[in-house]
Symmetry: C2
Subunit: 408 residues, 2 copies
């Protein structure tokens, strides 16, 4: 079950002026569930995105990149779950393009103004006919109040929908930021089997919006790992409709830009952490923080070595303070450390120093922390001033169960 | 259960002239099991080794390296299971040194002529008193016929002992190569929670022996992964006693050198594969071969990305030909591939080409191969002539079970 992750409520999600959303049950993989989403954007909206670094990137990722690069203003997004349209060759590309042109017909725009997204099983043909058949119902369903349904329509193995809203005042005008995301397995930076959509009714020029989405992604989705697998379909999209009437942001030094960027990064971080809290089979949410490093890069490299070690993750699942496994993972992270100098803490409990177990360490203290749902592993290197954090979850029977039966 | 891995038989293991072995039940972690081993070498034996790259290397690894570097001829090895003496700081180092000096007293040599090894749980103090108390029984038990007992005395979570013998004729003299190894989890190159000891009664000069052990290790233990975790204690030791009477090998271009090196590499490869076949929770033995690459390094990088992907490994556990997960792992391996050009085979079945599923591919063919205990994943890049192979196993409920309860 998700770790300390309450499900979002309908009333907690605030509409974003300039955006309407519609969903339907298109029977893409399973009956009786919302699996198709159309988002329509107002004409003046700016849209920026970051995408998976996987060389086998999915057909919709290729098409979405092309359409963003075309320079035309984006008018709609279409998202299906149940099939990733990845590893599908030329036919998959054609299917993604057809999806866009069918949405464009219904919304009276051009295919290049539509961004397609898919998530689900890889290397099976996209059931294009069912998607095309479902689109009119999505369009009929369009409403600014449908963020809650949209968050549900993009889920795969997620147990809980991921959605959050925040508001902030820019130049005396209240603007809203609402984001939804999905993802549970195949989660590792650059990025995850992860789809994220964050929208605001603030007005932001395209170059600044691109900067903002990169900043938010680096501080959130690029700091999580569930199983170390990087998916073919990861996408994070940031939309600024400008419909709030707040003055347009075109200067990254302006305090309002910093304020909005901070809010968007907060929303992205909450969504990214929600993905880990709902990680496949997760029973623990683990923050791995490395401090006192020579660079952020080396801190994150060590944090990732710990966060993706199956031996560390199974020890957390067992609530067993078998903390030598953390030392072993630090040791093989590929950094030339003097291991005598580092300190390892579990929450506030000093576990290891001087190359071994701390004299003050009591097994019962480690055991107490290991019982918690939220646990912080803190590693202090004492060789510099940089730090880095990664969020992960434990590794349980259910991870294997979910992934051994995903297609059935 | 181990995958297509018969247990070694007493009669299959051949003595190596110049080596005697003795074991005892020292109650290091659990009662009623052999957990302490002493190997005594004849005075003229040469000894070479390769060790873990983990920065948190264990105390016995530090001491063994020192003693090998001291230039004194090595007269004995001492191995305990049940405790890794890793992450144990200065006290652990002192315990490893005391173990050597106690062996030296019993065998009338110097402490620097003894190499210590430990395997088991990390970051708990070595029970030195029990080890010292057990040493006289090991020495009393010394016999050239005790390779079978020795293979059992070094096991941790291994289900089956790993041991193999081969013979080869050098200059008309029959020489023997016998090796034992242990390891099951925390298996990843450079190297593994892996201890390996290979001995021959051929005579090999020290520089050539060092070259031979590196060659054998690169082709065997450095090609396996169970869980991607690199241990603190990995050691592979190669001993040449010279007691067979075969002429000493001092020229790496001599055909006898090549013959012996081939035999030693074969023994190392069988032992390394046995570790994967007995991988924690393993139900499948998977050979991942990448061909047609620009370099061996890129081939192995891709093979490792596939071999350590939890999603790929759980799909193999489920006998589910969810082969898109293999494409995804190839895609994030970090090589700038043209994915349109590669071909993916499962044994002889062409699964994917042209960036997607092969037209000729039938799910039933994939399903048939997935049912097997031994499976080959073959990836043809078509961009060069290099190739590389990695051996791994699947990821099952039992992996989690074993590692969530290892200390109890």
């Amino acid at each position: 079950m998700p770790v300390n992750l309450p499900a979002p409520t309908l009333s907690s999600l605030l509409p974003v002026k300039g955006i309407v959303l519609g969903t339907t049950e298109a029977n893409i993989k399973k009956p009786n569930r919302k699996d198709l989403l159309v988002m329509q954007l107002s004409p003046q909206a700016t849209v920026a995105g970051v995408f998976t670094q996987n060389r086998f990137c999915a057909a919709p990722v290729i098409v979405a990149r092309e359409h963003l690069a075309s320079g035309k203003n984006i008018r709609a997004l279409v998202v299906n779950t149940g099939n990733a349209n990845a590893g599908t060759g030329e036919e998959g590309l054609a299917a993604a393009r057809t999806t866009c042109s069918e949405v464009a017909k219904l919304l009276d725009c051009k295919a290049e103004q539509v961004l397609p997204f898919s998530t689900g099983v890889i290397m099976e043909a996209l059931p294009l006919e069912r998607i095309v058949a479902g689109l009119p119902a999505c369009v009929e369903n369009l409403s600014s109040d449908h963020w809650f349904d949209a968050a549900h329509a993009i889920m795969t193995t997620d147990i809980v929908a991921k959605a959050v809203s925040r508001q902030v005042s820019l130049g005396g005008v209240t603007v809203t930021v609402t984001g939804i995301a999905k993802g549970s397995g195949m989660i590792h930076p650059n990025m995850a089997t992860m789809l994220g959509y964050i929208a605001t009714d603030a007005a932001v020029t395209l170059p600044l919006l691109q900067q903002m989405v990169k900043h938010a992604c680096d501080a959130s989705f690029n700091c999580i790992t569930v199983d170390g697998d990087t998916s073919t379909n990861d996408s994070l999209i940031l939309i600024a409709t400008g419909a709030s009437g707040a003055p347009a942001l075109s200067d990254s030094n302006h305090s309002d830009f910093q304020l909005l960027q901070g809010t968007i990064t907060e929303v992205a971080t909450l969504l990214a952490q929600a993905i880990v809290r709902d990680g496949e089979g997760a029973t623990k949410f683990i923050t791995v923080t490395v401090e006192g490093g020579e660079s952020v890069a080396e801190c994150k490299q060590i944090a990732y070595a710990v966060a993706r070690s199956p031996l560390v993750k199974t020890a957390f699942f067992a609530s067993d303070p078998n903390l030598g496994r953390i030392l072993a993972a630090i040791g093989y992270a590929g950094i030339s450390l003097d291991v005598q100098r580092l300190k390892l803490y579990l929450d506030d409990v000093l576990v290891a120093e001087n190359g071994g177990r701390a004299y003050s360490y009591l097994e019962e203290d480690g055991q107490r922390v290991m019982q918690q749902g939220d646990i912080t592993v803190r590693i202090v290197l004492e060789r510099g001033t940089a730090s880095g954090t990664v969020w992960t979850c434990d590794f349980s029977y259910d991870y294997v169960k979910i992934n051994a039966s995903y297609r059935s």
